[in-house]
């Protein structure tokens, strides 16, 4: 099953099991059902539990919080992270703090699904990937699945989590059906999705798929064995898994879909570098989105995103290996603004 289908199935299964679960958001009940992730759920569960909503992001977040503290389990969806900027007051000043601020008397089980846009000229206001913002705020959990099966498992867990959980879906993952590597996953636990002894790559979301491609290439052509840690949960970060891996590899490359300044990659690098038990062989590598608003033009986005070729290049430099450009070119997609046939715009 595809990522989007498994997101839908996670919601369906939880709604089946637990009648306190409700689900709403713009487009949730429309014929497209948020890229298929909520399609026809209202037909099964009725419009009391599954509904579309007014375009009122802040209000609807507060309403979700109110319903959640009354014991409903709330799933709210936004088609882009960017739209959710309107709701920061409710997510930061209400959802994140309530359990603490009211002396643990109530809790706020709300899952906020946010979709990260990419490609086909999404441009500056349809492509932001703000996990660092959410991770910065005490009281939130932040989940960012990569593999379709993990999306399922983590969403089910997020719905049952007694805390507010920000659940970030990458638009380019919706049509994928990568199954996860073996082993269980749960919130707070990163996934080692490739073992290796030379360098640890910490990555998340769509970038993990690029990392895997890069790692195969590096292994086959250069004998460099990367260990890939797919974060899966951005907060709380699975410090233990990361540190253990780095203790072994003594090299680290951190990749993140968000902006570079005060971003997640810097956090992880800092975490590794202040740790007393780790002595790195090489300087850490950081790969994030440049500190620029994303342009729209096909002509300008060519080098906006890191792909397997860029990642390989970074690692080859670290290992002082010769870079064979035309091999790297083969790691690039035909069209840089679409992942393949699965998504061709416009939205």
């Amino acid at each position: 099953m595809k990522f989007c289908e498994l997101v839908r199935k996670a919601i369906e299964d939880e709604m089946d099991k637990d009648e306190t679960v409700i689900c709403y958001g713009l487009g949730v009940t429309d014929p497209k059902g948020v890229f298929g992730t909520t399609k026809d759920l209202h037909k099964k569960f009725g419009n009391k539990r599954v509904f579309d909503m007014p375009t009122s992001e802040n209000g609807m977040t507060g309403i979700g919080v109110g319903a959640a503290i009354m014991g409903l389990k709330v799933i709210m969806t936004h088609q882009r992270v960017d739209f959710f900027l309107l709701a920061m007051d409710q997510v930061v000043n209400s959802a994140a703090k309530m359990h603490y601020m009211y002396g643990n008397q109530l809790n706020c089980p709300i899952v906020i699904r946010l979709i990260i846009g990419r490609g086909w000229g999404q441009g500056p206001t349809h492509s932001q990937s703000l996990q660092a913002w959410f991770a910065h705020i005490p009281g939130l959990k932040v989940v960012m699945p990569t593999f379709a099966e993990d999306a399922y498992t983590l969403l089910r867990e997020a719905i049952q989590d007694p805390n507010p959980v920000i659940y970030l879906e990458h638009r380019w993952l919706h049509e994928t059906n990568e199954s996860s590597v073996k082993g269980n996953i749960s919130i707070g636990k990163a996934r080692i999705c490739r073992e290796g002894k030379h360098c640890t790559i910490v990555s998340n979301s769509y970038l993990t798929l690029e990392s895997i491609k890069a790692a195969s290439y590096l292994s086959e052509r250069h004998g460099i064995e990367c260990e890939i840690i797919d974060l899966a949960t951005v907060k709380p970060i699975d410090e233990k898994t990361i540190l253990e891996s780095v203790k072994k590899t003594r090299r680290i490359c951190v990749l993140d879909t968000g902006f570079e300044i005060c971003g997640l990659a810097s956090e992880i690098i800092s975490m590794v570098c202040i740790n007393n038990e780790i002595e790195l062989i090489d300087k850490p590598i950081k790969g994030s989105m440049k500190d620029i608003p994303e342009p729209t033009s096909y002509g300008l986005t060519k080098n906006t995103y890191l792909d397997a070729a860029d990642i390989s290049r970074k690692l080859l430099k670290m290992f002082k290996e010769t870079i064979v450009e035309n091999e790297l070119m083969k790691l690039k997609p035909t069209r840089h603004d679409i992942p393949g046939d699965s998504f061709k715009g416009p939205f």
Binding site: I22, K48, R49, M53, P54, S56, N58, G59, M60, T61, G62, I63, G64, V65, G66, A67, A68, I69, M70, G71, L72, D89, Q90, N93, S94, M98, H99, Y100, M101, Y102, G103, N104, Q105, L106, N107, C108, P109, P138, G139, K141, D161, P162, N163
Partner: protein, 342 residues
């Protein structure tokens, strides 16, 4: 809305005496508590921003009389009267102001974050407008659960300037939620009068009505009888027919916006305006009326004051004797599952 309600309740038959006394008792109690806080605040033991409700006791008093503990309420930075009228624990409130472990938020919330879920007081927020959608979501949950409980959302006049107010009203009207929004218009936001924030021909009650809210009304605390009748009517209709209601109630804050003092001298409002409102203070007016109407009211009142006064002393004692939270408590309870920090 029903146009019959002008009838002078205050001058009516004996049965109303009981209600009047209940109102008086609740208001008086809140007033005395708030005055005690004001008196003791300068000692520096209640170390948090504190917004007193003195002058604004009537509306929450009546609303809580007309609703039950199963009905819910949320409130603002100025939440003491709402909390107390709803039946929130006095001891735990005073302990909270002292930052003590027996406080209603274990000392983590302070004066602006009161909560007492046992009586349906679901919390107050220090961010203007912030609790409006939360109260709306509470009503949504009640509706989904088919409980027939009403959600009360208290808000100040400035909160109607926040966009989230309209977002919430729209949703409540759309889903026909059983909710009453109570806008306590005390003419000021901090030191800023209405005219610098809203146009003169502004009519919030009309606005809310045009947005699809059926029961709306402009009220004032200067007319206790009408206020009681109207609130009874509105709440009755919500209970009976369902759907949201909105009232704007004219009221007046006596002391400074935040803190224990009077502040007419700083120049943002007229002494004469203040005097005018003091003259028509609902508590005093009610007291005058009861003095005339009720046999041996003075004796009853003295006893009442004594009782309240004792209760207040006990609450402060309780708060002062209540232990400080363990220092490690501060890093606990961030998450609901595994409470502690790292």
């Amino acid at each position: 809305m029903d146009e019959q309600i002008g009838t002078k309740w205050m001058k009516m038959k004996k049965e109303s005496e009981k209600e009047k006394k209940v109102i008086y008792k609740t208001m008086k109690r809140i007033r005395m508590i708030e005055e005690a806080i004001a008196e003791k605040y300068p000692e520096g033991k209640m170390r948090c921003p504190t917004h007193l409700s003195i002058g604004q006791e009537l509306t929450p008093t009546i609303i809580s009389m007309l609703t039950s503990k199963r009905d819910k309420a949320v409130s603002t930075h100025r939440c003491h009267a709402h909390y107390l009228a709803k039946g929130g624990s006095l001891k735990r409130m005073i302990a909270e102001l002292h930052g003590k472990t027996n406080g209603c938020c274990k000392g983590k919330g302070g004066s602006m974050h009161l909560i007492d879920m046992k009586v349906g007081f679901m919390g107050s927020s220090a961010i203007v407008g912030n609790s409006i959608p939360v109260g709306t979501g509470i009503a949504l949950a009640e509706k989904i659960r088919k409980t027939n409980n009403i959600s009360i959302v208290y808000l100040g006049d400035a909160a109607t300037e926040e966009g989230v107010f309209y977002e919430s009203i729209n949703f409540a009207a759309l889903k026909k939620l059983d909710i009453l929004y109570v806008c306590e218009n005390n003419l000021y936001s901090v030191y800023t009068p209405l005219k610098e924030r809203q146009p003169p021909n502004r009519n919030i009650v009309e606005t809310v009505k045009s947005m699809g809210v059926e029961y709306t009304k402009n009220l004032t605390e200067r007319k206790t009888e009408d206020l009681y009748k109207e609130l009874k009517l509105v709440l009755g209709k919500i209970k009976k027919n369902g759907g949201p209601g909105f009232v704007e109630v004219e009221t007046y804050r006596w002391r400074e916006h935040c803190g224990p003092n009077y502040d007419n001298h700083i120049g943002y409002r007229n002494e004469s305006e203040f005097m005018e409102y003091q003259k028509t203070d609902p508590l005093n007016m009610l007291e005058q009326m009861l003095t005339k109407e009720v046999v041996e009211f003075e004796i009853w009142k003295e006893e009442l004051e004594k009782r309240i006064s004792d209760e207040i002393s006990r609450a402060f004692e309780y708060a002062e004797q209540s232990p400080w939270p363990e220092e490690t408590e501060g890093i606990k309870g961030i998450y609901a599952d595994n409470g502690s920090y790292k």
